[in-house]
């Protein structure tokens, strides 16, 4: 290695903690380094604003995912939801028992700061998993993926998936809405597993963004079949890009 050279910079910003920076005058154009948040900040004459992060902080700030895996991925079985005659052609909340090692909370920082837990509901009958969108703004887009199989009792059936969204309180209309797709056309006979990984994309519009503390959009995964059968849910995952 050759001789290292100094940079051409002849000045170095002050290296300060966050609290100290907050006490400084709001002098337009100056630059300081926040050693707590590891970011450069500048002032527009009225407030301090970040102008640079380290890579790890940036990643956590703008992207992440939230995965809920059943025991299927840990040597066990997927969680089954029975679609009986009464459930045929109805949208049904899915059941999901998250494995003890199956929760992966890598949500963006703002979501974590807003809600320590990403979802509500334990995934049993009557208490479905509902994913909380709090901490997200209208610049966010996301993907959702469910991993499942379906075993129909009748041939030539059809299986559909959807994300059902609950809007926050500051919107009109306040009714729920959904994003749907046909996931399976089951033409190869009954009594066999048809595997599917439905992927649904969405963006955070002005009715499901963060409207206030504990007031943001939510979504849950539902399925509908036109034949009886058994749903075997393996995992639910949300991928978020803020």
């Amino acid at each position: 290695m050759g001789v290292r050279k100094n940079t051409q910079y002849t000045t170095r910003p002050d290296v300060l903690d966050t609290a100290t920076i907050d006490t400084l005058n709001h002098e337009e154009g100056v630059i300081v380094y926040d050693k707590e948040t590891k970011e450069l900040k500048t002032n527009d004459g009225s407030a301090w604003k970040s102008i640079g992060h380290d890579e790890e902080t940036l990643r956590a700030k703008f992207q992440g995912y939230y995965g809920m895996l059943s025991s299927f991925y840990f040597g066990g079985n997927a969680t089954e939801t029975s679609i009986d005659a009464a459930d045929v052609n109805q949208w049904i909340d899915v059941e999901l028992v998250t494995d003890a090692n199956g929760l992966f909370d890598n949500r963006p920082t703002s979501m974590k700061e807003a809600q320590s837990t990403g979802h509500s509901g334990d995934g049993t009958t009557g208490d479905p998993v509902v994913f909380n969108l709090e901490g997200l703004t209208q610049t966010t887009f996301a993907n959702f993926r469910a991993s499942l199989s379906f075993e129909p009792a009748e041939d030539e059936g059809q299986f559909e998936s959807r994300l059902l969204f609950n809007r926050h309180t500051g919107t009109s209309p306040s009714s729920d809405f959904s994003i749907e797709e046909v996931s399976l056309s089951m033409q190869n006979g009954a009594d066999i597993d048809y595997v599917s990984e439905p992927m649904l994309s969405f963006f955070i519009g002005d009715t499901i963004d963060t409207n206030g503390v504990n007031d943001a959009g939510k979504c849950r995964f539902q399925i509908k079949s036109n034949v009886e059968g058994v749903l075997k849910l393996r995992a639910l995952t949300w991928y978020i890009n803020k």
Binding site: A85, E154, D155, E156, G157, G189, A190, D191, N226, E228
Partner: protein, 938 residues
């Protein structure tokens, strides 16, 4: 969960699962079995024509179908409504999947009793259409006369029945009611159903006309039960309301088809006309009812007792009411509720008035028991009803009349009508031959015909007959016709008729239609012969009996049809181009005519060339700056036969056939053979002059974007637009070669003199082409006296024309040509001499070398750009070389004196090699010299 209808269907060959997600599956591919699911009976339904991934397990249609959901086609729940067990449901599904025509489904046919059905073929004669909406392919179904006395429509192959119970009087064919009896209608339907190569319809059961004793014999039977002989003239009546206590029973019996009883009844009341068995052992159906010993015994008050079958009349419907008997199955006739319904007839009205009406009951021609009333308006018997089953031959029946109240009266003694022992069973037939002409009655035996001759209505004969055969009878049967009482020229089927008082039923002798007998259409593939071919084609088949005529269009083919031999003969005329002759062959006989055509194409063959000149090469110009340049040197007119170094006015010769007489005259002639590409531009084919500039003098031949040829001569401008112009030919064919001859006879006009007429006399312009193999020479397009085709005039010609002779463009490669040039000939003409005439012109275009030998050798010639003349040398001198030049565009070889050949880029004067009389290819390549074949020249 909704119920599912599961049922098989033979028509579609499928088993359906209505109201489920499962589509219909082919019959025989579905298997059901009972399974236990957590203590509940469920049905596993699989298909045995598809397998799961393991390749062994059947694909599952229903994994655990609840049997309670399964319904039949009618929607009945098998378990809750029909009390099936789960296993029976499984069996039901499997049975539906295995349906065949013999065990269920629609294969048993639809009962159409009482429904009129119209049958017809579609316009293409490929489908049989029924007006109830069903269609079948021709030759796929057939009609059969069932033992129940109705028509059944069944599949031609296999055992599917489509329709049952079709009464023959309900059948229409092409909108017209089918005539005749059951057998006739069946035959008519089958004739309709069979399309294609005609198959004889063998009428195995023609409708018979049984000749019973119309007069009849009085029966000697008696009243039975408590029947009384009432006061007055009537002979029988009841005394109370009872269906089996009073009546009349004949002593006579009938036992043959065609035999019957007649009797007269009056007063509107209840009576039954019945047949009573003579022997209980002959009973059909309920033997308790059939027992003749209980007839009117007064024990059971029921119309059924004592009779095999009976038709009962009643006041409430004012006539036919119901039927009773041991086997009461009945089909209504038209006298029940049809067009001749008794209750609406005058006879019914009479009965209501208490007047006597005549009835009969007996065994009809098809062995059914038939009860009929006599329609006095139509003088015919009308069937009220009949059994739907035949009775056995030789089974003896008595007449039984039940008086079911005290009102009705038996008017007089009934009669029995037995078959006449001497009468043959008569099978009346007719034939339509040819179409629209009906002949009848015809019989299969001479005995029938003779009997008819003796017994028909009107003037009878002596029991003689004659025989007929018919060309359109495919069975070629000999039929017999009585010598009297017959019709040979009927225009319709035989009208309703009686013979010895008995209604006659005709059966049609199936005959071929005129269309079947019209001569087959002549057919031949098109033929092609070269012109001059001797043709000898047989058009008339050996042994044929039809007449045949032939027309040939257009005329002039050289062929004629020899009617006697049936051959098309002759020698195909020479044609200028391929020519189609349509040969129309008309065949006719008494049944009609057909017309067939084919083409004979006479192909044009170019004659074998006898030219001295070779025509195997040409130079291909592709526009741009490609052209041929004469090497005489700029303005060296003495080396160019077209040279005009002096500018002066030259008076034309007063005789336009001659060249100008002035010593300053420089007449010339030029030919060129070329073929144009049809390029969309104004192009120079050849030019002599200074190119198109201001004050430039030029003459030459050009072609425009519309393929119009012009000769131009004049001065100035960047194009020839301001020149004298003559239209050589409009819209030349770019697929043909053209030869253009232009002679300037020396007159050089001022602008004011350059009129059409004067110009016309100064030039001679001719055209030939490969369109007729260079056979004909056009008229003079310059026009001599008339001014011809000069489209622009008034431009001066009295200027010197310097510059160069070029082909394919001007010397400044202006207006380049797109096309091929095979030859160019330029020559001086002598002053005050007869200009070339047609024969020479033609030869100069077609065979320049022979022209030079025939018309130059042994004569004198004028030197180029000079008035001096000299003898044409046998070996081309330099001077003569300047005066006559033949450029053959690659075909010149061994040129004197050094045996030079045309070789890129030099195209030599064929008469002599000389550097200044060759033409050189400018901006071209060696393979622009191409091989060609010119029809009429090569």
């Amino acid at each position: 969960m909704a119920n599912i209808k599961i049922y098989g269907d033979l028509d579609s060959g499928s088993i359906f699962f209505i109201n489920s997600t499962v589509d219909p599956k082919a019959l025989g591919t579905v298997v059901a079995s009972l399974i236990d699911v957590s203590g509940n009976e469920r049905i596993l339904v699989e298909r045995n024509d598809r397998f799961q991934e393991d390749g062994v397990s059947f694909r599952v249609l229903f994994k655990k179908l609840n049997p309670n959901r399964v319904c039949n086609q009618s929607g009945q729940e098998l378990i809750s409504q029909l009390s099936y067990t789960s296993q029976q449901v499984v069996d039901y599904i499997n049975a539906q999947s295995q349906l065949t025509g013999a065990n269920g489904g629609d294969g048993n046919g639809t009962d159409v009793t009482g429904t009129a059905i119209d049958f017809k073929l579609d316009d293409t004669s490929t489908s049989i259409m029924l007006d109830n909406g069903f269609t079948y392919g021709v030759n796929t179904i057939k009609a059969i006369a069932d033992t129940d006395g109705t028509i059944h429509i069944v599949s031609e192959l296999g055992d599917l029945t489509y329709f049952t119970g079709l009464i023959h009087t309900d059948v229409l064919i092409n909108g017209v009611g089918a005539s005749g009896g059951l057998s006739d209608v069946v035959n008519a339907l089958n004739e309709l159903f069979q399309v294609g190569a005609f198959e004889s319809i063998v009428i195995s059961d023609p409708h018979s006309t049984l000749i019973a004793d119309v007069g009849g014999d009085l029966d000697s039977g008696s009243l039975v039960g408590n029947a009384i002989n009432p006061s007055g003239n009537d002979i029988g009546a009841g005394i109370q309301a009872h269906y089996n206590k009073a009546g009349y029973k004949s002593s006579e019996t009938i036992d043959q088809a065609g035999e019957y009883f007649t009797f007269n009844m009056r007063n509107e009341g209840i009576f039954g006309a019945c047949l009573v068995l003579n022997d209980i052992s002959d009973a059909q159906g309920n033997t308790a009812y059939a027992d003749p010993s209980v007839f009117c015994d007064g024990v059971n008050n029921s119309g059924n007792y004592g009779i095999q079958w009976g038709m009962f009349f009643h006041p409430s419907p004012n006539g036919p009411w119901t039927y009773y008997g041991a086997a009461s199955g009945t089909l209504y006739g038209s006298g029940w509720n049809g067009v001749d319904a008794f209750r609406y007839s005058n006879d019914g009205a009479n009965w209501l008035n208490g007047d006597a009406e005549e009835f009969r009951i007996g065994i009809d021609a098809n062995s059914f028991i038939s009860m009929e009333y006599y329609n006095n308006d139509n003088s015919s018997w009308v069937v009220v009803s009949r059994t739907n089953y035949p009775v056995g031959n030789n089974v003896k029946f008595h007449l039984g009349i039940k008086f079911c109240d005290s009102v009705v009266r038996l008017v007089d003694t009934p009669k029995v009508h037995l078959l006449e022992p001497v009468a043959p069973t008569m099978y009346f037939r007719y034939i339509e031959s040819p179409d629209g002409n009906y002949e009848y009655p015809l019989f299969a035996t001479e005995e029938e015909a003779n009997y008819y001759d003796l017994n028909h209505g009107g003037t009878v004969g002596t029991g003689t007959s004659h025989a007929h055969t018919y060309n359109d009878d495919p069975t070629n049967t000999t039929w017999y016709m009585a010598d009297t009482g017959s019709t040979m020229t009927g225009t319709t089927v035989p009208p309703a008729d009686t013979f010895k008082g008995i209604s006659v039923s005709y059966t049609e002798i199936t005959s071929l239609a005129n269309a079947d007998l019209t001569p087959s259409q002549f057919s031949s593939s098109d033929l092609m012969y070269v012109e001059g071919t001797v043709v000898n084609l047989q058009l008339y088949p050996s042994g044929a009996t039809f007449t045949q005529s032939v027309t040939i269009t257009p005329t002039g083919s050289g062929l004629v049809y020899n009617t006697a031999s049936g051959y098309l003969q002759g020698t195909l005329t020479d044609v200028p181009s391929d020519t189609d002759y349509t040969i129309e062959v008309t065949r006719a006989n008494s049944y009609g005519s057909t017309v067939g055509t084919f083409l004979i194409t006479a192909t044009d063959v170019a004659p074998v060339s006898t030219n001295t000149t070779s025509w195997d090469k040409a130079i291909d110009f592709s526009g741009s700056s490609e052209y041929l340049k004469h090497m005489s040197g700029n303005a060296t007119a003495s080396q160019n036969p077209l040279g005009l170094s002096s500018g002066t006015y030259i008076a034309k010769n007063s005789n336009p056939l001659y060249t100008a007489s002035s010593s300053s005259s420089r007449p010339w002639a030029h030919t060129i053979v070329f073929k144009a590409d049809g390029h969309n531009s104004l192009q120079t084919i050849w030019n002599n002059g200074e190119a198109f500039y201001s004050n430039g003098d030029n003459f030459g031949l050009e072609i425009d974007a519309n393929n119009n040829l012009h000769f131009y001569y004049g001065q100035g401008s960047s194009t020839s637009n301001n020149y004298n112009k003559c239209i050589v030919q409009l819209a030349i064919d770019t697929s043909k070669w053209y030869g253009v001859y232009i002679a300037h006879k020396g007159g050089r006009l001022s602008g004011s003199d350059a009129t059409k007429v004067n110009l016309g006399q100064c030039f001679d312009i001719r055209v030939m082409s490969s369109a007729d193999n260079f056979a004909s020479l056009s008229v003079d397009k310059s026009g001599s006296w008339s001014g011809g085709n000069w489209s622009q005039t008034g431009r001066r010609m009295d200027k010197a024309v310097n510059g160069l002779y070029t082909i394919g463009a001007t010397a400044s490669y202006q207006k380049p040509f797109h096309g091929k040039v095979a030859s160019s000939v330029i020559t001086t003409l002598k002053n005050n001499s007869l200009a070339p005439v047609s024969a020479e012109i033609e030869l100069m275009i077609k065979d320049p070398l022979k022209w030079e030998a025939d018309y130059k050798q042994g004569t004198t010639f004028r030197a180029a750009d000079s008035s001096s003349t000299a003898s044409v040398p046998s070996v081309t001198s330099v001077s003569y070389n300047y005066a006559t030049q033949i450029h053959l565009m690659g075909d010149s070889i061994g040129i004197y004196p050094y045996s030079n050949n045309d070789a890129f880029p030099d195209i030599l004067n064929n008469l002599r090699w000389y550097n200044t009389t060759k033409m050189t290819m400018q901006n071209m390549v060696s393979n622009d010299i191409e091989n060609v074949s010119i029809s009429g020249l090569s």
